[in-house]
Symmetry: D3
Subunit: 220 residues, 6 copies
């Protein structure tokens, strides 16, 4: 908020009172949070299959870096391949949901789970795909504060309930999606995307995955 | 509990009082819960790749049925392949965790999330792999009531916290696993297994996946 | 799920990667969970009244064992008598709710509270009274996944809310039961049954009550 | 707090601003909350056994009224007898816990469950038995704010955890009670009292039980 | 409840069983809870401005004591003035909400947060302003058990949701207030009052603020 | 994450399957989220006191805009003055906590409460005061993922517990702050800051306060 004092007329008195505080303002400043490690576990890069080595090289070429989630999985070529296979199908395959919509789901789930890695990476994706940095912030902070069409509200409400109360999803919840215009395959995709980030959020948390610093400033 | 009345001496009185209840005992009996559909979404089987068609055929041959989770994913060959790839690496690949331990994690996560599909299927797996039906029930009902060695208690406590409070996992939690004898790769595997079932539980819930009835009676 | 590998063509590579895991698959197998003690507290059997001694003998004769909840209470004859008196009235007295319905409430409450003792004992009762083992599993795992008539859904929704949010029960909740066809006395009985298991679940947890092993395999 | 305005020098301005509020201060005053019905269910008094009729008469003679919980149960003599039997054993039988301690547990459990009936009745009992009205208020409002000896803190911490997280009670929790000086039978009694009020709170909520107005002013 | 035993005929037996309890009834009685300190922090009274010194003197004259919340803030004159300024505007300025309604909100918020200080002080205010001690108890214990007009129910439901789920307040919640007859400025005041006590409850908790003992018996 | 497909060899098949999805990618793009209103309530600017008019003018001059929280409060001059008085004392007065530390507390509390307004405004302040945009993001997303000194970890842990469980703060929590080097007055300031944002978060939510768009890009 405004760093502008109202200067109430009791100000001199206040300053005097403040003067009695023996300690000067000494609060430590946290050290820079630049991350250098992909995760907290000490696992060396595994012997990658040719396909996986090429995949990481391609990322590096296109993005200028290897995303840390891939670097983390790269301790085991088979695990990297399995993860990338599922991820790419989910986020890149044809779907009734746009790529932006899938990223919005990713961020809303990650916001509930307070996942630093996924909020950073997919928040950047929402900003980039929508061209609206404010939309990205809203998904990170509280999607209920966003101005959304009924379609998106229904989609994100389903994702949020699936995240916090998976055992309480009933047919009425699927019906609400159908009423908002989603088809059977769309419902699958909404469910699959929200479910996937409930996995990824926890994997990031389990091993303390750290986002590459490049994401923070993207598409601001 | 005992269906044996204590027959307190006031019993005749009680019977008389009971007689005044005008309604006979008429509570409906629920219809049989035998499931015939793999899930609630109306999605037809897709055009399966040769590998996936062979995979389902092999399941049918070995198990006598196609697990409904695979039948549900089979509306899209690429999605089936991606899911099966991740699942098989997770549960069948070499690991410092035994297959039973991975199944125990699966069931404990599913118990917290009250996932009917996964509790049924993986509860059966715990019974089968351990040869101890009571262990299966304990994982389904409340792992804290089981008599466990510190290794298993630490493993399951981590999986439970990762499920309910992923944002509160800190280095001390990983340290607790190390103290219980787990290595870096084991921590990865514990985290990956618990994370995976947080996805699967939600996918099952999103589409109302129903377990094949064969699982219920297995290894009792 | 299917214990059938997809055998992706990268399998040899994966096996090689797996070979690098230095630890063989050594996960401990938990010791058998056969329980021998009724509970964790060290309290010897009390001096039972004639009526209570006869009650336990009758249980043993009819069931082949004394249920451990009774064995636990038997450290004090008056407490055993008071508990049995309330229990028998609740579960066996005439009521607009069938015995099966009362057992369904018992299990749903116990599922929310994750009570190992009550889930085991009353899960068996639901299987036996309904003749449908799957119904028993559904009540243990997640009643919202069961195919239920509106009467049973309303009854169990009330029991679940009373368990998790007793302070939020308002007249609208009782009205929902009336609309589902329940009378005033039925509402009392639904409330009383759900309340009783909120007590029993906690008593079982407070003293670590263990179910007799006979229940696990009953009516599968 | 102080209903004394600071009268800041801007007060006239404020009054002027206030004057613009078109509505006068019209908030409705709630109607008097004097309760006349024992509960919301319409159930007439049943045909009481001689013992139960005498019990209610004795209450009326000694207390000047029949407690509404008994009036509510009196629609069915057998249910009244079963409830009273358990209640009286729990709260009046010999125990290592004083009557005051049992009432403190009752109120702490009821505070967590926000039970109007039990907080009113047992709050009065704590005030009366302790002779300290402030202790009664503390148990109703937040026992953690009270100045308590380790014995009582341990006792109430156990009761609180058993109320909110019954599935997380483990041997360490019972050990904490032993370290605070409680014996095996005392642990039973703490568990039984906390469990009983988790039942009573819910029963009161299920049927909207209302305390007799006499309790409110007792022992203030 | 009734401290009247049912004297079941097994009473002698019970007494005998009781006799075996080796420990006499020895439960400690908690020490009197009379508070002498305003809070747990050791902060001396600051050098008060003339206005603040006069304010405290006026409180003392009118109430017979200085409310402990003011005594606690008095370690710093500027903080005391800022707090009193906000408090007095909120609770005493003209508003579409009556003073009683603002106090009802204060107590309902404090009940959810279990704030000993605010429940004591503002519970007394509800009793005094309404002339109905039972209303005060209902707000402290569970406002949902009170017999309220739709206006008050809507007002308190909004305050309760704002307290427990501030991130889930959406336009529909404001609309519910408008339908209950509240205007835009009234909605501001409901929100501001509920928000303020979410601050005060936490401040009281952070420093363990203790209410002056005079409040407990007021307006009973 | 990487928007780079792995191009598994089954890709052609997958594309074919995708082709069957009848719907093109049609997900709506949300409308731009640029906010033009300070809040959802329709309240016109009040008749401001000279001091308050000057305060808003000064903000506009120094910041280039009037922060929307002040614009929202400006419907009533006295309320604006009271709010600004408390805010300015809290965030700008001398304290043992640096301004950055107070802003860190503001953001951590707002992260738990998912407050769009405060996360935006105070997230920008953390970035600006620390010169470390990543630190700002960590406070918004999950402070537990930040690399912090024990002083800051203890400070934020206290603020977080005060936010989620104010009724569970006990002397041990204050002791933990003392062990981390904080004095009595520092504890007051930590508590006061965390409490204030629990108010502000709810006020922002109650009236749907919207941050000025300028904050989003600041200090990135």
């Amino acid at each position: 908020m405004a760093k502008v004092a109202t200067k109430p007329k009791g100000a001199k008195k206040e300053a005097a009172a403040g003067a009695k505080a023996k300690k000067p303002e000494v609060g430590l400043k946290p050290a820079p949070q630049a991350d250098t490690e992909a995760m907290a576990l000490k696992l060396e890069r595994g012997d990658l299959s040719r396909a996986m080595a090429a995949y990481l090289a391609l990322c590096d070429e296109k993005l200028g870096f290897v995303p840390n989630v891939l670097a983390a999985y790269a301790h085991d070529s088979a695990k990297l391949e399995a993860f990338a296979g599922l991820y790419n199908d989910l986020m890149l395959a044809p779907s009734g949901l746009s790529k932006l919509e899938r990223e919005m789901i990713a961020v809303v789930v990650s916001s509930i789970n307070h996942c630093y890695y996924c909020l950073t990476v997919h928040g950047a994706a929402v900003r980039a795909l929508s061209g609206d940095p404010v939309l990205g912030e809203l998904m990170v902070m509280n999607y209920r504060a966003a101005r959304l069409e009924p379609r998106h509200r229904a989609m994100l409400d389903f994702a949020a309930k699936l995240t916090t109360d998976p055992d309480k999803i009933v047919e009425e919840d699927r019906e609400a999606l159908r009423k908002a215009g989603f088809g059977e395959r769309d419902i699958w995709d909404i469910g699959a995307t929200a479910s996937f980030y409930n996995m990824s959020n926890r994997m990031a948390s389990a091993v303390d995955m750290r986002p590459n610093p490049q994401y923070h400033g993207q598409a601001r």
